[in-house]
Amino acid sequence: MVIQRNPVVAIILSFITCGIYGIYWFIVLTTDIGKLSKDPSFTGGKHFLLSLITCGIWSIVWAYQVGKQISEAQKQRGIYEADNSTLYLVLSIFGLGIVVYVLAQLEVNKLAF
């Protein structure tokens, strides 16, 4: 079960909890995307751990993989739009990870069941 989340509310919650909600959002969003693309190895815990260990460098790899997973989920449903993995990668290199969260959440909301 993948639930829809309002990205604006999630951003506000991330700010007022000093980023702690952002961690939760990262983990559940990643797990949701893994469920949508039917890839059981794409889990939030794993990607959070790897981001911690690599001082956040892994989140750049994560952003690219998120794009790939979302387009895979769209292909499986026959509603393939675009492969945004490179956009996510560039955004996250420039420190705009939160924009990646929002864009990915909007895609997940469209696919959520």
Binding site: G45, F48, L49, L52, I53, T54, C55, G56, I57
Partner: protein, 133 residues
Amino acid sequence: MHFKCTFDPKKHPILSWGVSLGVGGLLYLKVWLPMTNIGIPCVFNELTGFYCPGCGITRAVLSLLRLDVIQAFRYNPLVFILLPLYAMYFITKKKKMPTLSNGIMALMLIMTLAFGVLRNIPMFDFLAPTIIR
């Protein structure tokens, strides 16, 4: 004698990725770093002055390449504990044992967070990247 190369990287994606990552890592550690001294900085450490759970991994790998295991362990003891746990997580995930794999992941996350906090407390500063020789 005619030698035909039959290796097709597209057929072995994991092998070719692994080999290119390994060669790239070795070039970075053994050629790029000694020549330029420009490493990838830890943003967290640069901004706050605190050590993150991953600080010292580059130096640990460099020590391992010199076969100095004890020094590598002192730079970052956590990776030496996480690697076998991660292997166990990978296997339990593959064998579809969700309770066990989720438990191992939770344990790894708790250990990493605790390690990140403790190595910045003076009482536990032996966990910080330490040069012993």
